[in-house]
Amino acid sequence: MTILKRGLSRRRVLQTGMAGIIGSGVAPLVFTKGAWAQEFCNNPTGDTVVFGLNLPLTGTYAEEGADEQRAYELAIAHLNGEGDGGLLNVLQPSALKGNGILGKKVTYVSSDSQTKSDVARAGATRMIERDGAIMITGGSSSGEAIAVQGLCQEMGVIFMAGLTHSNDTTGKDKRRYGFRHFFNAYQSGIGLAPVLGDSYGKDRRAYHLTADYTWGWTQEESIKNATEALGWETVAAVRTPLGATDYSQYLTPILNSGADVLILNHYGLDMVNSLTQAVQFGMRDRQANGKDFQIVTPLISELMAKGAGESVKGIFGTSNWHWNLQDPGSIAFTKSFGAKYGSPPSQAAHTAYVQALLYADAVERAGTFYPPEVIKALEGFEFDGMGNGPTVYRADDHQCIKSVLVVQGNESPTSEFDVLNVFQEIDRDTVTYDPTIFGGELGEAEPVPMCA
């Protein structure tokens, strides 16, 4: 058992002694800056390097977490040269050799973040301090992502965000050590609004139900702005607690509110519950203001669509990626994932897999694990072949800029996985925005903080 294996090492004794010295305030006399030139948190010295996977295995987003874990295991296998190589073969440009990272074999430790910020931070700290993780990745809630991103900045460990869609992650809470491949709520708004206008008209009245945390707030704001620009009116925006199971108390007032569109800013199990219950309320069969009542789910994934079953048919939303895309990258990933796990990957799995590869590639290009160099290698990196078309890791806010998919619930699914259709692919120029609109500061990469 690994936890028993690490006994009282010399390193540990030295650390303890050193901490005692720091504690007694002698430290400033002993340390001189610069003595630690290439010394940084969890500098891998052996022949392995450890990824820290912080995944919600219980809680509202547990299903996404489980799928992310599968993707990370696959990515790590591919990085080590096992399996069919997956996206290693299609990433352009690529420095990956399939022999681990800088010749070191990749291993991982994982922690259940329970979809809670506090727990996610404690788990990340454990993986950094005890297990020596060189990089933290994962998470499927923006609350978690922002909390862990802040922690990683303090510790000097790179954080490759998993599924996080809040504008704040690369907006007002952006950090130099945090990187996001997933798209954000603002881009959902830009992508989705024209489609909604074409399909439902320009004089709609919208009612929002919103998950009450950072992601919900920013998505509500983005969708509100985008639809109001279209000419829609927002009747009300009601916040619901994360992890609620019964939405009837929130759904009843909608019937008499004069709204004719319900926008569900929910995700994961919340979305499955709220959408199913809204349909059971007969909302989709209703008429309001002389129009058919509609439901919109701005962010949706295959896992949720599968969970909601019949209810999702014909409903519009946006996705980061879909397994049915026909570019070489998507085909390679779907094939590789399907061969190993027997189901097509979700968008959460895709973003997790890509993040792991992008980190490894950046380290190879930088030629070192030293975080500031890796950060430089990632900032402004242009790449292609990962399933989203040409993509750039924007240096100003560490947001990946790439095309966004508008999807629609499949009216006649041919299999249990064929639940969403790609309705339109919005190209990357349309969804590019000025990074300064959300404020925030990245902070500095150097000096690298030393973790314990």
């Binding site: 058992m1 690994t2 936890i3 028993l4 690490r6 006994g7 009282l8 540990r12 004794v13 650390q15 303890t16 050193m18 901490a19 005692g20 720091i22 504690g23 305030g25 430290a27 295995l57 219980t58 430790v109 994982s110 922690s111 259940d112 329970q114 809670k116 910020s117 506090d118 931070r121 404690a122 788990g123 700290t125 454990r126 301090e129 005890r130 923006s142 609350g143 922002i146 909390a147 802040g150 922690l151 900045q153 303090e154 510790m155 704040d168 809470d173 130099r176 009450d212 945390y213 950072t214 916040r239 607690p241 925030g440 500061e441 902070g443 500095e444 000096p447 903080p449 973790c451 314990a452």
Partner: protein
């Protein structure tokens, strides 16, 4: 008593301090010798010691102590944001605010005793949680949690022209508090908290509190007004909770609403009962055990179990992995529940009672048993 502390108290205090300060060494073989968990051991130790001042001494069972813990955290983080990144003002601020908060809630709740008191505290705590979670979002940042940012005002730091590079993190007089430095910082406070609790328990004031527990009515008939005593105990224990919450914010500057949830209040009750209600060391041990379970058992997964059982033949190992996997990972609550049930049924006085029984066995078998006379119990 002419002496400042009895020999036994002094020994207990010295032993406790030694055990706490050497934790990084003796916990390493158990996989728990890393700073973050050690800090939590200290912080929740303080929380439990404080809770025991109320529950252990006066017998008032509060189901809402997490509220004070959370208020302490929020107060500390706001101090970091508005005033300075130094930990000392933040902690003073947190203890004062949570003390005031405890005064208000205690004043209202202590009008009732027994189960009604517990329900009232539970209600207040749940209200605080909901306020923090949604109503007071501008102050608490809701579910996302309150964090430090580069653009915080920090007026005192700005006034003395103290800048910093990178991410703002709490410090003490310019010293970083991450890692083992943070642990020793918290350990110092746990030892201090333990010392104060020890002094309170041994003081005339502590005697009053114990009298409230044994028979409040009789005490009132003898002419004591019990409520000020109970209220003081409530406020002191609320301040302990605030201190613990502030320390958690110092070591990890993020305050989330879930630390005020009723499960967090229940956890401190579990800690105290598991360790031994009314004893000094018991609650701390209970806190350590629960935090150990939470952090270590919950991190075990099937792969690690498979490696652990790999010395057995394949079929047996698979079965054992299947069975044990239910008790670790996200099933760690099951293990905790089992442990709790066993302790409550067989050792109603908690782990400390187990320790006493074992010690009693040794004493009886040893020939020098006469030296330690049994403590005289005050007659009813």
């Amino acid at each position: 008593m002419p002496k400042f502390m009895s020999r036994n108290d002094l020994l207990l205090f010295a032993g406790f301090s030694l055990v706490v300060l050497t934790m990084p060494i003796w916990l390493a073989p158990f996989g728990a010798g890393y700073p973050d968990l050690l800090q939590r051991f200290m912080i929740f130790g303080i929380f439990a010691v404080g809770f025991n001042i109320l529950f252990g001494l006066t017998g008032y069972l509060s189901f809402g102590h997490a509220a004070f813990f959370g208020v302490g955290s929020y107060a500390a983080v706001w101090s970091f944001k508005l005033l300075t990144l130094d930990a000392i003002p933040a902690m003073i601020f947190a203890v004062v605010i949570s003390g005031l908060f405890a005064l208000v809630i205690g004043f209202l709740c202590l009008r009732r005793s027994g189960i009604y008191f517990s329900i009232l505290t539970l209600a207040f705590a749940q209200m605080s949680y909901n306020l923090a979670y949604s109503v007071l979002t501008p102050i608490t940042n809701g579910e996302t949690g309150l964090q430090l940012t580069l653009s915080d005002p920090r007026v005192i730091d700005a006034a003395v022209g103290q800048g910093f590079v990178g991410q703002p993190v709490p410090n003490i007089l310019g010293q970083q508090l991450s890692g083992y430095a943070g642990f020793y910082f918290c350990a110092g406070f746990l030892i201090l908290a333990f010392f104060i609790a020890q002094r309170i328990a041994g003081s005339p004031f502590g005697m009053m509190l114990k009298a409230i527990k044994s028979n409040q009515t009789r005490m009132q008939f003898t002419g004591f007004n019990t409520r000020p005593y109970a209220l003081s105990a409530f406020v002191i224990s609320g301040m302990y909770a605030g201190l613990a919450g502030a320390l958690l914010a110092v070591t990890d500057p993020l305050a989330g609403a879930e630390r005020m949830q009723w499960t967090a209040s229940g956890e401190v009750v579990l800690m105290t009962i598991l360790g031994g209600v009314g004893t000094l060391v018991g609650p701390v041990i209970g806190a350590w055990i629960i935090k150990y379970f939470e952090n270590i058992l919950s991190a075990l997964n099937d792969n690690i179990l498979a490696r652990f059982w790999s010395f057995l033949p394949e079929g047996v190992a698979d079965v054992l992995v299947k069975v044990t996997s239910k008790f670790v990972g996200d099933g760690w609550h099951l293990t905790l529940g089992l442990a709790f049930v066993i302790v409550v049924i067989f050792l109603p006085g908690g782990i400390m009672e187990g320790v006493r029984r074992v010690a009693g066995l040794f004493r009886r078998s040893g020939s020098s048993g006469a030296k330690t006379a049994p403590q005289t119990q005050p007659a009813e």
